[in-house]
């Protein structure tokens, strides 16, 4: 099967680098699946999971907080301000972030804080889902 190199890069360093057969990511306008040899493309990503199908049926998962995906025929790069692969996610921390965000949402302060808490909530849920593998 044909493969393509995938890099997930954050300001704190690269978090993922492997050969995969298909990438499934959630962009702001919907989910996309990218196969090797795709035409060059750039798309912004939503907070969500990135599925990386490897040769032999194995699948890696990564939680990505926004950013964008850059596709070239032989190389796919995902650039996000933060991203974690499933194995490195600290579940306890993600759960703590979840409760914190929920509390903040219940307090209902001004709009800016509300939006920020909502995003934090999404990120936390995303990380927990990716860690538990239920996508």
């Amino acid at each position: 099967m044909k493969t393509v190199t995938v890099n997930i890069v954050t300001p704190d360093g690269p978090v993922y680098d492997a050969e995969v057969t298909m990438v499934i990511a959630k962009t702001t306008s919907g989910e996309i699946g990218v196969l090797p040899g795709h035409i060059p493309m750039v798309a912004p990503l939503a907070i969500g999971a990135v599925k990386l199908n490897k040769e032999g049926g194995q699948t890696d998962l990564a939680a990505v907080n926004g950013g964008f995906i850059e596709v070239r025929p032989d190389k796919i790069s995902i650039l996000a301000s933060s991203a974690e692969v499933a194995e490195t996610i600290d579940l306890a921390r993600a759960k703590a972030a979840l409760t914190r965000a929920e509390q903040r949402l219940q307090q209902k302060q001004d709009n800016v804080d509300f939006k920020r808490a909502e995003l934090a909530l999404q990120r936390a849920i995303n990380r927990i889902n990716v860690h538990e593998g239920n996508i």
Partner: protein
Amino acid sequence: MVNLREIKGRINSTKSTQKTTKAMQMVSSSKLRRAESNAKAYVPYMEKIQDVVGAIAAGTKDSGHPMLTTRPVKKTAYLVIGSDRGLAGAYNSSILRQLQRTINERHKSKDEYVVFAVGRVVRDYFVKRDHNVIGSVVQLPDQPTFADIKEIARNAVGMFIDGAYDELYMYYNHFESAISQVVTEKKVLPLTEIAPATSNAAYEFEPSGEAILEVLLPQYAESLIYGALLDGKASEHASRMTAMRNATDNASDLIAELSLQYNRARQAAITQEITEIVGGAAALE
């Protein structure tokens, strides 16, 4: 005779100071190594994002995006990256001196500019002098992550888009080598100095070039700020290391000099004692 004990005391206290400075020097040098590797980890991200921004900006000329447009400058913002603690040689003072000079040259009144301060020393300096400090971060860890700076970076970029100011400059110490750090001024916004992409791949934009710029440009500007922070942190550790090495060397010199004085004084005391004994014996004969 009088100052024998006094000299001994000074030698001891200098020795204990030397121990402290030596320990600080070693701590800083290991932190510097970490900071350098952090800065290295950041490079691929920056290169990639620069590449894509260049490609898109070249493809969608005259997009009219607020972050790419130069406006008449009514108000300027300065983002100054310093440290929380002192004992780092001229690290903070050189940056503050240069910025103060620039401000004096460019602006007539305090209403023409605002300051974002990173680091307690910087914040205190500007607050004390009644400048408009509109944002600050203190107590950043020695190995900062993107999350630590995200909020101030987002504010700095967001306020530019909202039109609170028309230019954003960064001031930080650029790390050249362990012994040389240079105060650097860098214009962040508007983004006028985007390098053209090296790879001229014609990208398909999903959903559109403008929509991507909307996401990409703030992310790009925030990463520029983060890059400067990493650079500044490496400089801070290097600067502290050099300062502490100088202090340790000075302490060694001081100890050598004091030891000489001490030995002289001790010898003088012994000689005097012998002279007295000899004198006493001679008087008995």
